[in-house]
Every structure is written in structure tokens, then in C-alpha cells.
């Protein structure tokens, strides 16, 4: 039982301004402005550049990447909302673009921004959603009641959702996506804007839902969330998958595991060479006054680092040690921090 997801060489090129759901920053602009005057298109934006993924039935899979990496566009294509430029996306046995109605029966979607029906109350939103999927009246009333309780929305269930706080809207959006009990649940940055307590409630609900054999694909730029929830993760950047595996595998793939970030008064090749010779150091990357050290230890290295910096004739301005984490992994693969 359970339904999987797969994509093959998925590409999406926007030739008109992309929808807000796809974010903005981080797209690679392939400007054609300087080219032959006959060219009509003044720009195209490559949002996805050949994404191939296989998500197993009953898995919680995370897409991790910065804003504009292509996470939302991937979800858009998998949920019939964005037309792929080329490549193939399948949910279970169905080709998403060619068999949209069959696909839509299998999926539930929570978008990045709450897109609730503002003309209705919370209860009505869930009831009508059930009706769109042809669920019988008694059954949808039962499910609505259960979801309102589970998501702690019962007290204000009969209010118009206009007056809801951001967190309440987000909870209701997730409840709505579960009314028809989809085999595959898409969550685009589900915990953005939630307080820590609600975030934990949400994680619990996601795990519960997954325990019933449902497949879950979530996107996040929160490393902790990916680490806590996902069985496997793909890291995407600039529309490409740059790493894939379980959180443990991915963390183990960073050379050394520990990352020591230094700020020095004056960077130099000599300094890099000295640092590279230190015991346990596997890789050193320097850019101006910033130096990143990958090593199999953290704290015990500091003394040796201080000495090495001193011997190179400069001073140490700042040291930061981080333990093996997905954050470091991302930094290692892209040269950028996730929050940049």
C-alpha cells in the first residue's frame, strides 16, 4: 500500500514573470539581452534544471534549499499547478500533467502561504473541501469535527477565517489538506510562522499521518525540521539536486564533520598551508579574511589554530565551531549558508 512519487529530468523555464509561489531570489537569470536583435524573449528564468527524484511510498521526504532554489516549483509541478517545460513527474501510476484529475484525487497540498477561502468559516472550509472530493455528508461532518479538535481550532471554528492569526490559518490549511485523507501530502514550508509549541504539534500530526502509510513530501529551509522529520532528504540549489540521502548519511558525507569558521586579520596562502597540516583537518577553504576548516574534531583544535594564526603574522578575530549538521552540509555543497 502507499503511493510513491518520481520525477525524471524535470525542467521548468519561466518565460514570463514567475508566480509568487515560486519565490524570487536565487533564480539563475539566463539573460538574452545582448543576443541577436530578432530574439523576442528578453529573459528566461530557469527555475528547475533537471530534477530527478524517487520518493518511496510511505516515506517522509524533505526538499531542502534556500529561497528560490526550486522547491516550490517542484511542488507546483507535482500538484498539477505548474506545467513542466520538459521531463516527467509521476504520482503513483499517474503522469501528473497528463492525468491531472486522477493525480488530484491522490494528493493533498499545503501551500507556502495560507490560501484559505476567505468567504467561509473554518468549519465550512473543511466541509466544502470534503464535498469537492465527493465525501458523503455524514462522513465529512465527522472528519471536520475530528480535524478541528486535533488542530485545536474548535473554539473558533464558526468564525470567518479573515480574523484568524497566521498560525491558525496555517493549521487550518493543513487540516484542510487532510480532509480527503490523501495518499500523498505536500507541505510547502509547513512550520513557517508557527510558534515552537504549535510546531511540535504539527510535527506530531505529520508523524501520525505518516504512520498510517501515507507519503509526505515537505520543503523547508529549516535544518532542524528536516533532521527531525525526514527519512530522506534532497538538497536543492539553483534548480538542481546537489545531494540526496538520509540525514545521517548526508551528515557523514561532510569531510571531517565539524566545521570551524575563522575570521582573521589578514588571510594568506601561508596560513592555509599551516592550517591544513594540523592534525584531524581534512579541508580548508579561504576567501579573503574568512577561513572554513573541516575537521574531525572541534574544541581540541582551537589551541593549535591560535598558534598557526599567530605564526602566520596575523590575529584571530572570531572563531565559531559547529557540530556535524545539515546546515554545514549545505554550506559545504553550495558555499553559502541556508539563511543567506
Amino acid at each position: 500500500m502507499g503511493v510513491g512519487i518520481s520525477t525524471r529530468h524535470l525542467r521548468k523555464v519561466y518565460t514570463s514573470p514567475p508566480p509568487m509561489a515560486a519565490g524570487s531570489a536565487g533564480f539563475s537569470m539566463m539573460g538574452m539581452r545582448g543576443s541577436a536583435p530578432k530574439t523576442k524573449k528578453t529573459f528566461e528564468i530557469v527555475a528547475l534544471d533537471g530534477i530527478s527524484l524517487t520518493i518511496r511510498p510511505g516515506e517522509i521526504f524533505g526538499l531542502l534549499g534556500p529561497n528560490g532554489a526550486g522547491k516550490s516549483t517542484t511542488i507546483g509541478i507535482l500538484t498539477t499547478r505548474v506545467r513542466p517545460t520538459s521531463g516527467e513527474a509521476r504520482i503513483g501510476d499517474f503522469d501528473v500533467w497528463r492525468q491531472q484529475v486522477e493525480t488530484k484525487r491522490l494528493i493533498g497540498v499545503v501551500q507556502q502561504r495560507p490560501n484559505l477561502d476567505f468567504s467561509l468559516t473554518a468549519r465550512e472550509i473543511l466541509l466544502f473541501h470534503g464535498a469537492y472530493y465527493g465525501i458523503a455528508s455524514a462522513e465529512r461532518t465527522r472528519r471536520t469535527q475530528a480535524l478541528l479538535e486535533r488542530f485545536q481550532l474548535k473554539a473558533r471554528a464558526d468564525e470567518m477565517v479573515r480574523g484568524y492569526s497566521g498560525g491558525m490559518m496555517q493549521r487550518l490549511s493543513i487540516a484542510r489538506a487532510m480532509v480527503h485523507e490523501p495518499e500523498v501530502l505536500f507541505l510547502d514550508e509547513p512550520s513557517t510562522g508557527l510558534d515552537p509549541q504549535t510546531k511540535l504539534l504539527l510535527w506530531e500530526i505529520i508523524r501520525e499521518y505518516n504512520a498510517r502509510g501515507k507519503t509526505i513530501l515537505l520543503t523547508t529551509h529549516n535544518m532542524d525540521e528536516a533532521d527531525a522529520l525526514c527519512e530522506r532528504i534532497a538538497i536543492v540549489d539553483h534548480g538542481r539536486v546537489i545531494a540526496e540521502g538520509t540525514p545521517a548519511e548526508l551528515k557523514a558525507s561532510i569531510p571531517g564533520g565539524y566545521l570551524v569558521r575563522l575570521h582573521v586579520g589578514q588571510g594568506s596562502p601561508e596560513l592555509v598551508e599551516r592550517l591544513q597540516r594540523l592534525p584531524g583537518v581534512t579541508e580548508v577553504r579561504a576567501e579573503g579574511n574568512a577561513v572554513d576548516l573541516y575537521a574531525d574534531r572541534g574544541g581540541p583544535l582551537i589551541g593549535a589554530i591560535v598558534n598557526a594564526v599567530g605564526e602566520s603574522g596575523t590575529e584571530l578575530c572570531d572563531v565559531h565551531i559547529s557540530e556535524p549538521s545539515l546546515e554545514n552540509l549545505f554550506l559545504h555543497h553550495t558555499g553559502r549558508s541556508l539563511r543567506q
Partner: protein, 256 residues
């Protein structure tokens, strides 16, 4: 098409309309009734207009109300639902081809336009008092014209709703709807433009002309009007054009 989904969406629109019933009725009725009262009652009562003007005016007002109601009933929610918050997304994700959602919007608009036409006709009758001189000798023809008018207004609403952004609503009223009303042969028959031959030709591009003239031709044929066959042909043409165009626009707006 998936009938359960389709009718659930229709039920949703009916539910929302019922909740806003007073606002909707005021929006539909107030302006037409004020026009009817001032032009049909005050002007004729004071002798500035002949009493026969009443019967000329009533079908025009009715056509205008239907057209404005249909356009607004479809376009205004669409503009809101397609903006930034994408409220429409839950229905786009429902298990039905998304074109059917546009068809559902048109159907909901047709129903509202027909109701508006009926309500305004009844109210205008009351306001105008004696001597309106409408006749219902040809109910089938009248029904057919009503339906064609309601259809083009709802399809036009779809087209406008998918072309206009939230910030351009004011512009839509002053640039599209206002000229449409004033050059829509609502307050005068098309033949009144005989002395303005260029204008007379140009207003033929305005679908409201056929709504007013068509209703005039079926309800008050004693006044000059464009032949009903020509009106029906033009309305069918506008209906087809706006439905096809509206569906295309809707699809383009829904899928990126």
C-alpha cells in the same frame, strides 16, 4: 466532468451569495431603481418626458441590471481569489478539470443575472406605476433572449475577472463598464442614434446594445428596435466569443 465536485462548488457559491444577500440585492437593485424612478417617474410625471418613455426605459434598465450583475458576480470574486492570496487554489486542486471550475463560475453568474433581471423587472413595474405597456406575448422568445443576455454577461465577467488586477478595478468601472452603459442603448433605442451615423455603427461592438434592444423587441415591440433575429445572432456570437476567450484567460491565469 465530475458532477459531485461541480455541484459542490455551485453549492459553495450559492452559500456565499446567500450570506451576502442584502449587499448583493442593494448592489443589483439600487442604481437601476433610482434611474427608473428619476427618468420613469419624475421626468414623465413632470411632463418633461412623454409617458410612453416608461415602456421604452424598462427593458433597457432590465438589460443593464442583468449585464452588470452577471459581470460583477463573476469578475469581482475572481479578481479577489486570483490575487496574491490565491483563495481559488483549493478549488483548482479539486478532482475535476480546471476548465469546469470556469464553467461553474459562468453558470453561477447566469443564475444571478437571471434573478437580477426578474427582480428589477418586478420592482421597475411597481415604481413606474400605470402605463408601462410591457407585454409577454412571446414568453419563449423572451426567455431565450434573457438566457443569451445572462450568458454573455457571466462569460464577460469571466473574461474581465481574469484580465483585470486588484488595483485596476476602479479603472475597469470607469473605462469599460461606464461607457458600456451609456452607449448601451439603455435609455434610448438604437434608432435614436440615426443622427450620429459613426457612433451608431460603433456602438454595435457593445454587447449591451443587443441586450437592451433584444429585451425591447420582445417586451415592448411597439417601440423602435433592432430586429430580434439580428439581436439573437449577435448575442450568440458574443456568447461564443466570450466563453472561449474567458476559458482561455482562466486557464492561463490558473496554470503557470
Amino acid at each position: 466532468m465530475n458532477a459531485k465536485t461541480f455541484f459542490a462548488m455551485l453549492a459553495r457559491d450559492a452559500h456565499v451569495a446567500r450570506r451576502n444577500i442584502w449587499a448583493l440585492l442593494t448592489q443589483t437593485m439600487l442604481q437601476p431603481l433610482l434611474f427608473t424612478f428619476v427618468f420613469g417617474r419624475v421626468m414623465t410625471g413632470s411632463g418633461m418626458m412623454p409617458a410612453s418613455y416608461k415602456g421604452m426605459l424598462a427593458p433597457g434598465i432590465m438589460g443593464m441590471s442583468m449585464v452588470m450583475t452577471g459581470i460583477q458576480a463573476v469578475s469581482m470574486p475572481l479578481i479577489a481569489e486570483f490575487q496574491f492570496t490565491r483563495e481559488i487554489e483549493d478549488r483548482l486542486l479539486a478532482p475535476m478539470r480546471i476548465e469546469w471550475l470556469a464553467v461553474e463560475k459562468i453558470l453561477a453568474g447566469v443564475v444571478q443575472a437571471l434573478i437580477a433581471g426578474g427582480v428589477v423587472m418586478g420592482a421597475a413595474w411597481l415604481v413606474l406605476g400605470a402605463g408601462v405597456g410591457l407585454n409577454f406575448d412571446r414568453p419563449l422568445l423572451f426567455g431565450a433572449v434573457m438566457l443569451l443576455v445572462a450568458l454573455f454577461s457571466a462569460a464577460g465577467g469571466l473574461m474581465l475577472g481574469c484580465s483585470v488586477g486588484q488595483t485596476q478595478i476602479g479603472l475597469m468601472f470607469s473605462l469599460v463598464l461606464a461607457p458600456m452603459i451609456f452607449f448601451g442603448c439603455v435609455y434610448y433605442p438604437w434608432s435614436a442614434l440615426n443622427n450620429f451615423p459613426i457612433l451608431q455603427k460603433m456602438v454595435l461592438l457593445n454587447p449591451l446594445v443587443y441586450a437592451s434592444e433584444g429585451l425591447r423587441g420582445t417586451l415592448a415591440p411597439q417601440y423602435p428596435h433592432i430586429s430580434t433575429a439580428a439581436v439573437a445572432g449577435a448575442l450568440v456570437g458574443f456568447d461564443a466569443l466570450l466563453i472561449v476567450g474567458g476559458l482561455k484567460k482562466f486557464y492561463g491565469k490558473a496554470v503557470s
